[in-house]
């Protein structure tokens, strides 16, 4: 069975909510929309206090090419345009909307009827990309890179395949798994649309073998209706859901070091949740304002999967799972390997919120840091073939040139090194500092060179 070829670790899967069907979350009283929900320029609010909005009304426009508009997931009145602390822990500009009823924009097709690409021959690649862009769709796996940008590769790159990331390698999370089981037909139409938009004739869906039901269901449906889409079962290993790792696992090609893009080896990678959102946007005219969120944790009474409107505070979803347990130590937005620890549980659900994970006090604490015994386990675990022990030390000693020479910009921050370290060393903490600094230095040097030329 296929998997990526360098490094990797095997965290305990803990997919507690895998058997829980997706249920609709209740509407919040006040919905909050941070403007920076994606990679790139933040969106610009286009509503003011007192404005009436409906479900699906655009409340903020894209702030540039690499950006995405934001749509309201509720109907009601704009309460204020202020700031909110989002999952990153920083205060970001945000639109607050008081919820009144549940009135949808006209034009959104709310029927359950499946629309396939064959029924709509008028959809050209350009039309599909425009609809994706207009619907504010970004990568739903957590990285939130605007989807239309990926579908418009820079000149000189010809995509050959669309690879759908249905790996869900993060422990605990089951949102993608449930989506595949419950919305398989819609997801496949979405993949078909992405293939057409990317002008490629071959699609792959990478699924880890710990989801045999999803592999079976999608394989059967592909065999029946979509001969160009192939389901690729993958050996369970973290971080298979990393874009570069997935390409290596599925088509055996490795994307070179940054700034090379995945499309340079011919692959466009999209999350399975994104494929579903693309289906809804293109076929049902429904912009991105709700998503599947897994709310889970060992101490939680009822771990569940929700279809939640964006802007819903996480505390509301936690309450719907039996409330925040007494011994809670940490609440994580996302999965345990790459998710962000939240400063409070009022953080709203955003485009990239794949999960909310509750950890008890004991699980939440890091182990005592010990000296490095040079066991080389981090080197063996690194999926990018780097030497985390060396990068962490070089970064701690602020040896930025050494960091660069050792390839620190290639780090994907998957956390495999720190996960595996028997001495509990905060390797990734140091590497992040080094990576940010080094990338900053590279940018500054480029700007300086540009200035020199101009003089």
């Amino acid at each position: 069975m296929k998997t990526f070829r360098i490094g990797g670790v095997h965290p305990a899967e803990n997919k507690l909510s895998a058997a829980e069907p997706i249920i609709k979350a209740e509407l919040p009283k006040v919905a909050v929309y941070p403007m920076g929900q994606h990679i790139g320029a933040p969106a610009k609010p286009i509503v003011q206090k007192g404005d009436k909005v409906k479900v699906g009304t655009m409340i903020a426009e894209a702030g540039g090419f690499v950006s995405a508009p934001i749509f309201s997931g509720v109907s009601g009145t704009v309460l204020k345009v202020d700031t909110v602390i989002d999952a990153s822990g920083y205060a970001k500009p945000a639109v607050y909307i008081t919820v009144e009823g549940d009135e949808w924009e006209e034009g959104i097709d709310r029927s359950e009827k499946l629309v396939t690409l064959k029924e709509k021959p008028e959809l050209t690649p350009e039309v599909i990309v425009d609809k994706i862009k207009a619907a504010g769709i970004v990568g739903m796996g957590g990285a939130c890179f605007p989807t239309h940008v990926k579908l418009c590769p820079p000149p000189g790159n010809t995509p050959q395949w669309v690879i759908i990331n249905a790996v869900e390698c993060e422990p605990y999370l089951t949102a993608d798994h449930r989506l595949m089981l419950e919305k398989a037909d819609q997801v496949l139409v979405g993949v078909d649309l992405l293939m057409k938009a990317g002008k490629v004739s071959k699609g792959f869906i990478g699924i880890e073998e710990n989801k045999p039901d999803a592999i079976k269901l999608l394989s059967e449906k592909c065999a029946a209706n979509y001969p160009n889409i192939e389901v690729v079962p993958l050996k369970t290993k973290y971080p298979q859901g990393g874009e570069k790792q997935l390409i290596d696992a599925v088509v055996r090609r490795q994307v070179p070091a940054p700034p090379a893009l995945p499309v340079s080896v011919g692959a466009i990678v999209q999350n399975v949740g994104t494929a579903y959102a693309v289906y809804e946007a293109v076929m049902k005219n429904k912009p991105l304002f709700e998503r599947v969120v897994t709310v889970t944790g060992k101490s939680l009474k009822y771990p569940r999967n929700f279809l939640a409107r964006m802007g819903t505070p996480m505390s509301q979803l936690i309450d719907a799972c039996g409330g925040l347990p007494e011994d809670t130590g940490k609440v994580i937005g996302g999965g345990p390997m790459m998710g962000k620890a939240l400063v409070n549980i009022e953080v709203p659900i955003c485009k990239g919120s794949s999960g909310v994970l509750i950890m008890n006090e004991k699980e939440a604490r890091r182990g005592e840091e010990k000296t490095c015994i040079r066991c080389a386990k981090c080197v063996g675990a690194c999926p990018m073939g780097l030497e985390p022990y060396l990068l962490a030390t070089a970064s701690a000693k602020q040896m930025w040139d050494k960091c660069l020479a050792e390839g620190i910009p290639s780090c994907i921050e998957c956390g495999s090194c720190q996960f595996t370290c028997p001495s509990n060393r905060p390797l990734l903490d140091y590497i992040r500092v080094g990576k940010t600094t080094v990338i900053g230095i590279i940018h500054a040097r480029k700007i300086a060179e540009g200035t020199k030329k101009n003089i």
Partner: protein, 330 residues
Amino acid sequence: MNKLIVSLSPHVHSGDSIAKNMYWVIIALVPALLCSFISFGVGAIITTAISVAACVFFEWAINKFCLKNPVNTVCDGSAILTGILLAFNMPSNIQPWIIIIGAFFAIAVVKMTFGGLGCNLFNPALAGRAFLLISFPVQMTTWPLPGQGFGAYLDAETGATPLAIMKQAFKDGDMSVLNQLPSFQDMLLGNTGGCLGEVCGLALLLGLVILLVKKVITWHIPVSILLTVVVFSGLLNLANPVYANPLAELLSGGLLLGAIFMATDYVTSPMSAKGQLVYGVAIGALTVIIRTYGAYPEGMSFAILIMNAFVPLINAKFKPTRFGEVPAKK
């Protein structure tokens, strides 16, 4: 509500720890210790016990009185491991005071002066053995014969080891000397003379299986050492049968003990898989060269110590294959 803990990802840990690794190595050494007890009697146990006690005491005392460390590192099991390995590299009939000197050199000089666990350049147990071999050559090379009952200790009868026989054959150019070698079965089961931990090949291989299954070590170092020795000594044997056959080389002396337990010491071995292979091949080659052409019949410990010194260079030269460097494959 209580305040939430905020830290950067990853939020989960494998649960691995230094102590876990050390204790698994110790468990992997138990079969060899039991075999040694069967071969050499109670002397094997006494020697090991003294060595462990001395190593642990020196580590504790240095932490407590010299370094005044608030956290004593003695609980991580590394001193116990050094103690066992040091004992495994000595004959079972050695006097206790020599063991204690060896333990002092290993822990105090080689390990703690460099900064303790993780900082030492050389394998402490091997450096201790080398120090004793040079300081007390007679006591360190008077090996008891196996099968003298469980009571055998200081008064055990002594005799030549397989390696000494091989060396003799080569020196005299007399192949008939090789006929005195014990059978392979005896060498596998530990029924020969030698250091107390090195004689039972089967028990050491069982230890290797434990270490590999528990993912304490990877295959690179032991396999590359053993393969190199077999190939190198096999070629010598083909060229001139006065060199012992490769299987005898493999099972004699400290080769298995060294390849499985000493060369794989985390602190003093290279970090990348490529580096580990280079290190293993070099150790294997050096061992055969020292065994055949050197002054000592045994070359394993010196080969490892020499290569320990090269580890920083190997680490600088042999980097892991980066992502993007593995070629595309159909």
